[in-house]
């Protein structure tokens, strides 16, 4: 449902939108969401993309691509808001490579007359969706944070320092990636019966065979997931910057994160210094997070870092430099050396937990 907007305005804009479609095109919203999955489970960002698609109105189909993905398809069928699950089970999609996957997606969008094609805005969606859009001759909208109407979307530009409202003017399906932190994830376990699961149309599957040779998958590392919550889903994030001085000191953050059931993140400086792996980087070119609580320890608050945290509910900054730009953003600031603040924080929070 497109709440919070005048319905008259909505119908007016939809009218022009239908008119912009080529003759004989369906005057009915119907969206397709590309399902991202890892180790046989849907990612949280997929649930956000499904929620965004549901906001458009009209039926929502979920596309599950991969090899041996029956279990993933069943999970997708139980997600709130999914009306149909399309399965593309093929050895060509073993590692969900974009070369065959994009052909499948573009062909499916055209043949099944989807008005909207969405992917979650992580590295998987960003890698695949633009390629599929190009094959369909469409310009996608990246990192959508708000849906105004079926044609009009809001997205951040200039590291989140400006919000652009953009409107699709060309005919054909609208390709979008949805920023996961901007749409409350759809419930993974719905109340009613699961949606129907069917194989993707043969024509779309055949399109994959004509795809150019995919890049050959060689190896991966670090993708088995740890004990801590994913940055995108964590309610609490403890983040460290260059001031932590070493890999070993980052372990101190982990202790605090564990105490609060949170995750650990890092600024680019800490990643570049080799203290933590790349995928913990938060910012314009890393991950965008929006936890309940974000604690920035020894992070100055460069434009690029701020881009990734400004939607957090509560931001805390601890830094020895009272002039650090992070203090302009923080709800609570403390000028203190993080190495003395950390043990005190642990102590005080442990005390609080004891009191229950």
């Amino acid at each position: 449902m497109l709440a919070s907007r005048g319905s008259a305005r909505l119908w007016a804009s939809l009218g022009t939108w239908y008119a912009s479609f080529s003759a004989g095109a369906p005057a009915q919203i119907s969206s397709l969401v590309v399902v991202e999955h890892r180790n046989g489970a849907l990612t949280g960002s997929t649930l956000s993309a499904i929620a965004a698609a549901a906001r458009l109105g009209g039926p929502v189909s979920a596309l599950v691509g991969g090899e041996g993905v029956g279990g993933v398809a069943d999970s997708a069928a139980r997600v709130e808001g999914v009306d149909k699950v399309l399965v593309a089970d093929s050895p060509l999609l073993r590692h969900q490579q974009p070369e065959p996957y994009a052909e499948l997606l573009a062909s499916l969008a055209a043949a099944a007359a989807f008005t909207h094609v969405l992917a979650p805005g992580g590295t998987f969606g960003k890698n695949l969706l633009p390629r599929a859009a190009a094959l369909a001759g469409a310009q996608p909208a990246a990192d959508v944070v708000e849906i105004v109407d079926a044609d009009t979307f809001v997205r951040p530009i200039y590291a989140g320092n400006a919000l652009a409202t953009v409107r699709f003017t060309a005919p054909g399906p609208r390709f979008l990636t949805a920023r996961p932190t901007s749409f409350k994830p759809a419930a993974a376990a719905r109340a009613g019966a699961p949606a129907a699961v069917e194989a993707a149309p043969a024509g779309a599957l055949a399109a994959m065979a004509a795809a150019p040779a995919a890049a050959e998958w060689v190896a991966e590392s670090g993708r088995d997931g740890g004990a801590r919550p994913e940055l995108g889903a964590a309610k609490v994030i403890i983040a460290g910057g260059r001031a932590l001085k070493s890999k070993e000191n980052f372990a101190l953050l982990e202790r605090l994160a564990d105490l609060l059931g949170g995750a650990v993140a890092a600024s680019r400086a800490a990643v570049d210094a080799g203290y933590v792996p790349n995928d913990l980087q938060v910012g314009q070119t890393g991950k965008v997070v929006a936890p309940e609580l974000y604690v920035a320890l020894g992070i100055s608050g460069a434009i690029q870092h701020v881009a990734g945290i400004k939607d957090s509910k509560c931001i805390v900054a601890v830094n020895t430099d009272a002039e650090a730009p992070i203090f302009q953003l923080a709800d609570y600031g403390l000028v203190q050396d993080l190495f003395t603040a950390l043990p005190e924080l642990e102590q005080e929070i442990a005390k609080l937990k004891k009191q229950g």
């Binding site: 890892r38 974009p98 070369e99 994009a102 590295t123 960003k126 890698n127 695949l128 969706l129 633009p130 390629r131 599929a132 859009a133 190009a134 001759g137 469409a138 310009q139 909208a141 990246a142 951040p156 530009i157 200039y158 590291a159 320092n161 400006a162 919000l163 652009a164 409202t165 409107r167 699709f168 003017t169 150019p212 890049a215 050959e216 998958w217 060689v218 991966e220 993708r223 609490v236 609060l260 680019r268 995928d279 314009q284 070119t285 309940e292 609580l293 434009i303 400004k310 509560c314 931001i315 805390v316 953003l329 709800d331 609570y332 600031g333 403390l334 603040a341 005190e344 924080l345 005080e348």
Partner: protein
């Protein structure tokens, strides 16, 4: 392998504070410092290293945009690119009107002419934050792609490139059959600075001019920008005097622990 093609974009300098225009029509770019997009610098550096490792013979920089992008192409030549191609567009002064689909189409036309073994781009431009052009170019050319590269090893004799990619949760390694498209992430390398002698030499290097019309590329924006506004400002915070006070406030006032 004969040639590496590198796509370059001129953008607002990454340290510049941008302001939204009062009439909400866009971002005010008058008198704002412009530079080469940081990710494009990294892509170019990688191409230069390929040439130094004798995996390619020539590095060609290409930029699509108004007349001013020639300044940025000069910077690319000063860093070490052999020659440059400027694809001019009809008076597109605002980055919002020249979109990745049009740029990818122009780059595809240039790639068909130049027949590079590899095309390198940055993973995203820091003005529109799209992260699309490389993927779209690969799609249009029907070439394999490796995005968000943190390491690249080209074997020109075998006609392959092995790329480590930065992905959510860790990293992934792919092997591409060339020609292919690679987009650079921050950790691929540290770009070199142009030295004064090289800046002088760059003045003599050729910049070929083409236009999107000549290449038969339609640059009409498919996404119309209705308005650009500032994001909601966060309300000012408070400075606390101790960890104890901080924890008390987080528990009592903010209710987040």
């Amino acid at each position: 392998m004969k040639r590496a093609l590198v796509a370059i974009k001129r953008v607002v300098d990454y340290n510049a504070r941008v302001r939204v225009k009062a009439d909400k029509s866009g971002v005010d770019l008058t008198n704002v410092k412009m530079s080469m997009n940081p990710f494009c610098e990294i892509a170019l550096e990688e191409a230069l290293r390929l040439r130094e490792a004798k995996q390619v013979e020539e590095v060609v920089a290409v930029s699509v945009g108004p007349q001013q992008v020639q300044e940025t192409l000069r910077t690319a030549l000063a860093m070490g690119a052999d020659r440059a191609i400027h694809v001019s567009t009809p008076a597109a002064s605002d980055p919002a009107t020249l979109q990745p689909l049009a740029v990818a189409r122009a780059l595809a036309a240039v790639a068909r002419r130049e027949e590079p073994g590899i095309v390198l781009l940055g993973k995203q431009a820091i003005d529109d934050d799209c992260n699309q052009t490389g993927q779209m170019l690969a799609g249009l050319l029907r070439w394999p792609q490796a995005t968000f590269a943190s390491s690249l090893a080209v074997d020109a004799a075998a006609g392959t490139a092995t790329v480590e990619r930065e992905v959510d949760g860790g990293s992934e390694t792919l092997r591409l059959k060339l020609p292919g498209v690679v987009t650079a992430d921050l950790r691929l390398n540290t770009p070199r600075y142009a030295t004064l002698p090289n800046i002088m030499k760059a003045k003599k290097k050729p910049i070929e001019s083409l236009s999107t019309e000549e290449l038969g590329v339609d640059t009409t924006p498919a996404l119309q920008t209705l308005q650009v506004v500032e994001p909601q400002k966060r309300k000012g915070g408070v400075m606390v005097g101790s960890v104890k006070e901080l924890v008390e406030r987080l528990h009592g006032e903010a209710g987040v622990i």
